[in-house]
Symmetry: C2
Subunit: 307 residues, 2 copies
């Protein structure tokens, strides 16, 4: 799947992933009203509204970008109906040819981690049948539990030719509380980066590994060091736009081949219609606003990397 992602980035010239992180505040009112009319102000109603929102977004951007990244927390808050909307969103995005990165930040140990991997990236055995509970192509994984937590994901990735992005240096202000602490003179995130390289060496695609890393756009200097530590790992870069990262800050995350990073934007694209810049599209034109925002983002990133 990393090969597919690389091909799609080359083809679209857009190392961009659109974060499908719908909340009720972001979901256009007309979609909420339509869904509530059918399902009432219920979890099912909310789930239907966010699914319709996503379908509109996917239809508007699927030819421009290689991938989408639904953040499962935004769906999980609506319980089972929300998770059904998550699954339907993943399946719809795949039908449209998009790579799906499940932002699930799971992580446990042994058979428990394997269960998460099986559920999101693999197939579970039931009697003589096997099923894909969810169907992402990549998943984000938390490294705090060490190799015991990550290796079961890698096992499933090898079987299914899928991939993971391990949290290394997250984009939030307090990420330094633990991640920046110095161990033998070097920050923890560098040690995690070294493990990512090590884990990644066991499962290489053509140019890049099945094991990537998450490094926040908000920390470009750290991105530079991590880029060197993990030359064969794709970096998923959150924190662009709403969290403060800018196109020119992104240069450090890419390799000289113009590859090696994929930049996420969520609110900046899916709720572009709420921003002054794209207000002319109006709420009904939220999908067109998202498309315009993707095109602008692509131009902004072109400052950092030769597309």
């Amino acid at each position: 799947m990393i090969n597919t992602l690389v091909e799609k980035i080359k083809k679209t010239k857009a190392p961009i992933v659109v974060g499908l992180d719908p909340t009720m505040k972001l979901t256009p009112k007309f979609l909420q009203e339509k869904a509530f009319k059918e399902y009432g102000e219920t979890l099912e109603g909310a789930a239907q509204a966010i699914y319709e929102y996503n379908v509109g977004l996917i239809d508007a951007i699927y030819d421009l970008v290689p991938a989408v990244k639904p953040q499962i927390a935004m769906y999980e808050q609506f319980g089972i109906p929300g998770l059904i909307a998550f699954d339907k969103t993943c399946r719809y995005a795949k039908e449209k040819g998009l790579v799906v990165i499940g932002d699930i930040k799971r992580g446990d140990i042994g058979s428990t981690s394997e269960s998460y991997a099986v559920g999101h990236l693999g197939h579970v055995q039931v009697g003589s049948n096997s099923y894909a509970g969810f169907c992402e192509d990549f998943a984000t994984v938390n490294p705090y539990l060490g190799s015991d937590g990550v290796n079961p994901f890698i096992k499933i990735c090898k079987e299914e030719k899928k991939g993971i992005f391990v949290l290394v240096k997250t984009s939030n202000p307090s990420s330094g509380e633990f991640q920046d602490r110095l161990i033998d003179g070097r920050p923890l995130y560098e040690l995690v980066g070294e493990k990512v390289r090590e884990w990644g060496e066991t499962c290489m695609g053509d140019e890049y590994s099945y094991v990537g890393a998450v490094v926040g756009a908000t920390y470009p200097e750290m991105g530079k060091v991590l880029r060197e530590i993990m030359p064969k790992s794709f970096i998923l870069v959150p924190g662009y736009g709403a969290q403060g990262g800018q196109g020119k800050d992104l240069v450090n995350f890419f390799n000289k081949d113009g590859l090696g990073a994929i930049v996420n934007s969520s609110r900046g694209i899916i709720a572009a219609y709420q921003k002054e810049e794209y207000a002319k599209y109006g709420e009904m034109g939220y999908a067109d606003a998202a498309r315009a925002a993707v095109i602008d983002m692509q131009k902004d990133i072109a400052q950092a990397v030769n597309l």
Copy 2:
């Protein structure tokens, strides 16, 4: 909810939580056959089998222990039907008066972490209504992202009088890869323990804080230090039994008041019927075997703490 947990431990004299971590290998064949007859060898069939398995277990142990801890990964592997079984299990356990610790190991930042907290411990707003997507009393939380990831959980815990257990030192062999690394001469898990104390001070119950910690039974010496660092935090102790921890190793996790820790056992109880020791109960008697295993575990723990 921490007050309720403390009361229930005092009443049952059993600082034990039963890990409801069903897999197909552990689920008695007769329950699988019954479910497959009705639903086929499908995700729905698997989900029905594990739910019936749990109901039998809960009925057998609800008067002996204060709490159960369903591990959501085991359900998530079966996709939506599995998560419905997770939710039904939580609701059934609560009906029976048990405290439910959702072993979900979630962790993200800001509004995303808040969405997890809302989904599992709180209520989500849909128009003028509010709903509990899932309904656990406690959730486990991963600290790698720092305070930005934990504070949104604490906010919801305060509103809902619920609680969390933050991963500090996990029970697995490779937990030391990052958690044991020395920072200014002290291991990372101690620094996380200090943050747990700090977070916990902002939301105290009568005797203990809403913010607890996860520390593996497999590391009793580290448990001793962490017990001192976080005197007001309840410690959730996994790794007893199948992972190698024993009753006498548990003394370090308790406070002088005989409280402060709750020990998890999963396979050792729910699949006791597969162990030679309890083979006499047979597969049909899996629930009675579980009950006997709980009683034996209580005796074993009595070596470490005055119940």
